[in-house]
């Protein structure tokens, strides 16, 4: 039984921050959910998808991009059904056009936008702070700190959305999304509303001429009303004390702050914990500030609370100094150590000796240890594709990078990636650059999901402008990087049900691409030849589709439906010339090194190998042999892996 579906109010379960948001949606009686997957928010979509059976009335979709996802949720809200859209922080850039109109036109049923933010950019190409958007979208922001609040604030967000006629944003940083711990469940609704109804409301829904100005005014008025009500909403709280230095914080930074204060033995500091970070209530802030000698604002990134607090206090008599980004970094993640260190310097309070020693000695003890970077999984078709591209080009082309698992090709051993910014930066930047460079070849990458997200307009533009480039579509049939959500090219579900995928070739033909070739990445020789041929052609967009399912999904499927035979790949020691093609240039993690009396040798770790066969195809010495063993029906088992 999925614990998120339990109808046992008061029961405590183990849940991830993202699960808590799912449960909040269930308890709030949500009927529509859309998302474009992105770390750290991906598990919210997976959570709803996994609850399809228990909650059949909830429409759950992995949309083509965040813009579409946000519009969909707005549509459901206007049909009087509570709706949620989730995305990672950079998804907000894509959805922002929709969300800039959302306050103008308001909601019918509650409309909640969940943003998974990524301070420290551990799984993103930027660490932008989406909270700043609200200064012009005028969407209220709730910032839960704990797993429990992630659920409770989600429910509050739906209520506030309806009460103030505004979509409400729930901002959850990655360290909350991926915090896993105790969650106490609340009640599930007794009845669910399966279908809604659209009621015309031209004054709010038609943003034309003076209508949009009137809606702008209404949005601002709604925010003003909400601002005045904040003290009565119990979203913010004061931890009172008699000290003269007060702290204001929100989100997980509040927890870091409380731990840092305890470490520094500062037990008399008043703390204002902000649960709603836009708008702020001037009365609440000034009452907290009054009588204090200093206020220190603790938040990640560029100082959104500090900016607002200073602005609000400017209109009052209060002149308490407010410090924030003078003390804490404006970039990167915060944690207890960074906050405790900064406060120790600022307030002249020493760190406990053990903490100081640990940090100093760790620096010396770990000085020269090798870093560990990510790598393509064993059996990953992208690894094979990248190997072939590097061999075909000797890296003497410009590599227009993009976002997906294949972004790892920026790392050794491939190092075949010249830039990565946002979605579809590959073709997009390349086709402009190509108008102004000469004599250089360009290979642009795009994954299937990224192509559908926002790649099609870029490719049309490149075709129309006759950009001379080779586009490699790495079609692995899933949104793999974020945990295998379906993509428009997913042709068979993990359980083997046939789906109806988009025909990429037909699509490319119809937009005027004349050169389209499919390759099987595991056929290394064929792939190298195909890349060379595409590069030799003159002018225009040439597309190579590297088609092979994500290895992890493939491995899962054969566990469910085992094949009748088993294949083994082995390195014949006598034939192996230690040339390093497989061990270094392909870099497959299943190929291992060991030592004997005569020196080193390579072998394939059977338990790790996914039988893609790339190594055998590329071995110049024919040293890798393939053996096929037919198994008795029903006994085929996938090799054991530690899980």
């Amino acid at each position: 039984m999925n614990p998120l579906a339990l109808n046992e109010s008061g029961k405590t379960i183990l849940a991830m921050g993202n699960d808590a948001i799912v449960r909040g949606g269930l308890e709030a009686g949500l009927g529509y959910f859309s998302t474009y997957p992105g770390t750290p928010a991906s598990e919210i979509g997976e959570g709803f998808a996994a609850l399809k059976k228990q909650f059949p009335h909830i429409h759950t979709e992995f949309s083509v991009n965040e813009h579409v996802a946000a519009h969909g949720a707005q549509g459901a809200s206007w049909a009087n059904i509570r709706s949620m859209v989730t995305m990672k922080h950079v998804g907000m850039n894509v959805a922002s056009e929709v969300l800039h109109f959302a306050a103008y036109s308001g909601v019918k049923a509650g409309f909640v936008v969940v943003i998974g933010s990524d301070p420290g950019a551990t799984s993103s190409t930027s660490e932008q702070d989406d909270r700043w958007y609200s200064l012009h979208t005028h969407l209220p922001i709730l910032e839960p700190a704990t797993i429990q609040e992630a659920k409770d604030f989600t429910i509050r967000a739906f209520e506030l959305s309806e009460q103030y006629n505004l979509p409400v944003i729930l901002n959850a940083p990655s360290k909350l999304c991926h915090n896993i711990g105790s969650l106490t469940l609340g009640e599930l609704p007794r009845e669910v509303q399966e279908k809604g109804h659209f009621e015309r409301n031209p004054t709010r829904y038609i943003n034309l001429f003076g209508g949009s100005v009137a809606n702008h005014r209404r949005a601002l008025e709604s925010i003003d009303v909400l601002e005045k009500d904040i003290p009565s909403l119990s979203l913010n709280k004061v931890v009172p004390a008699s000290g003269k230095t007060g702290f204001i914080s929100s989100s997980i930074n509040y927890l870091y702050l409380m731990e840092a204060l305890a470490l520094l033995d500062i037990l008399d500091a008043p703390v204002l914990k902000i649960g709603i970070s836009y708008p702020l209530n001037v009365k609440e802030i000034s009452e907290f500030a009054e009588g204090l000698d200093d206020i220190i604002v603790v938040e990640e990134l560029e100082g959104f609370l500090e900016y607002q607090i200073k602005q609000l206090l400017y209109d009052t008599e209060i002149r308490t100094p407010v410090k924030g980004k003078q003390i804490f970094p404006r970039y990167g993640e915060l944690d207890v150590d960074i906050i405790a260190g900064a406060l120790s310097r600022e307030l002249g309070k020493p760190l406990p000796e053990a903490v100081g020693t640990a940090r100093d000695s760790a620096e010396t003890l770990t000085r020269d240890i090798p870093p560990r970077q990510g790598s393509f999984c064993t059996g990953c078709p992208h690894r094979a594709t990248l190997y072939s591209i590097v061999k075909a080009t000797d890296r003497k082309v410009i590599f227009a990078g993009d976002i997906g698992c294949y972004t790892l090709s920026c790392l050794p051993p491939f190092s075949a990636f010249d830039w990565v910014t946002c979605m579809n930066c590959g073709v997009g930047i390349a086709q402009g650059m190509l108008q102004k460079i000469e004599g250089e070849k360009v290979i642009a990458y795009v994954g299937d999901s990224t192509f559908f997200h926002s790649g099609i307009p870029n490719v049309i533009n490149a075709v129309q402008q006759n950009a001379d480039l080779v586009l490699v579509i790495l079609d692995n049939k899933w949104v793999a990087m974020t945990g295998h959500q379906p993509s428009p090219t997913t042709n068979v579900s993990i359980h083997g049900e046939k789906l109806d995928p988009v025909d990429i070739k037909g699509l490319l033909k119809s937009i005027g691409v004349k050169y389209i070739r499919s390759i099987d990445p595991f056929n290394i020789k064929g792939s190298i030849a195909a890349v060379r041929d595409a590069l030799r052609q003159e002018g225009g967009v040439r597309v190579i589709i590297a088609e092979q399912e994500c290895a992890l999904q493939y491995a899962r499927r054969i566990k469910i439906n085992p094949p009748e035979y088993k294949v083994y790949y082995q390195i014949e020691e006598g034939r192996c010339q230690l040339c390093n093609e497989c061990y270094v240039d392909l870099g497959c993690p299943a190929i291992r090194k060991d030592y004997n009396e005569t020196g080193h040798f390579y072998y394939i770790e059977e338990a790790a190998c996914l039988r893609c066969g790339s190594c055998r195809d590329l071995c110049p010495n024919g040293a890798i042999v393939r053996t096929e063993i037919k198994l008795h029906p029903g006994t085929a088992r996938e090799t054991e892996k530690v899980s």
């Binding site: 379960i13 183990l14 770390t39 551990t122 704990t146 360290k175 909350l176 991926h178 915090n179 896993i180 711990g181 105790s182 931890v239 997980i252 509040y254 927890l255 870091y256 409380m258 731990e259 204060l261 305890a262 470490l263 037990l267 944690d335 207890v336 150590d337 053990a354 903490v355 020693t357 640990a358 940090r359 000695s361 760790a362 003890l365 770990t366 240890i369 090798p370 870093p371 560990r372 970077q373 990510g374 790598s375 393509f376 999984c377 064993t378 050794p412 051993p413 793999a480 990087m481 974020t482 945990g483 061990y583 270094v584 870099g587 993690p589 291992r592 090194k593 054991e640 530690v642 899980s643």
Partner: protein, 210 residues
């Protein structure tokens, strides 16, 4: 006040996340509050993975105090009561979380990083790794858990429960054996095999190791 922080580290795919889940579910079974963020390997392999497990609870009759009970998802420097590292180098990489009382369990089974594979750096000598960790804490327990699992169970599937048994034997987790075993029973198939692995782990933990 009950507080006990465990840092689990390893490489993507090694089971650090599942081990963290078992320790957290056991806390809920026990009636403790638990939190802890995970650093996941993403879709890619061979990246560093950590799981923070932070137990909190009130003693009988102890009043709730927000200043003491507020707990974030990340263990601060010198804050780990226990570290379970699935790999030697990763134990050293996370040495800043240890203090002189920390209990460390290390799986003596190196996994070679890509940077070493391509010749950019060397994997440090294991004795050197262990001696550096011992400069911080003397309570270091080193066992080749992979080998143990392979030799006793002819499989790598028992690595997690073996680790759990070792950790339970050498640490002072505020969790009962019954809660741990009940969780293992719920989470893993083949309970008898896992119970045997847990017991073998406890026995191994009590033995000297390296």
């Amino acid at each position: 006040m009950i507080r006990y922080d465990i840092l689990i580290c390893g490489i993507g795919g090694q089971g650090a996340i599942s081990l963290g889940t078992i320790l957290k579910l056991a806390a809920i079974h026990e009636g403790l509050t638990v939190v802890g963020a995970e650093r996941r390997g993403g879709a890619q392999r061979e990246g560093v993975v950590t799981s923070n497990v932070r137990y909190r609870g009130l003693e009988k009759g102890e009043p709730f105090d927000e200043r003491k009970m507020a707990v974030s998802g990340l263990i601060p420097a010198a804050g780990a009561d226990m570290m379970i590292s699935m790999e030697p180098l990763e134990a050293l990489r996370h040495v800043q979380y240890l203090n002189k009382n920390s209990i460390v369990i290390i799986n003596d089974f190196p996994l070679i990083p890509v940077s070493v594979r391509i010749g950019d750096s060397d994997y440090p000598d294991r004795e050197e790794i262990y001696s550096r960790i011992r400069q911080v804490t003397r309570h270091v327990h080193i066992h080749n858990i992979e080998e143990l699992s392979k030799s006793r169970f002819n499989s790598l599937k028992q690595v997690n429960t073996l680790s759990l048994g070792i950790a339970y034997a050498v640490g002072n987790m505020p969790i009962s054996e019954e809660s741990l075993l009940a969780t293992v029973k719920n989470q893993f198939p083949d309970f008898e095999k896992n119970r045997a692995a847990f017991e073998l782990g406890m026995e191994t933990g009590r033995s000297a190791g390296r």
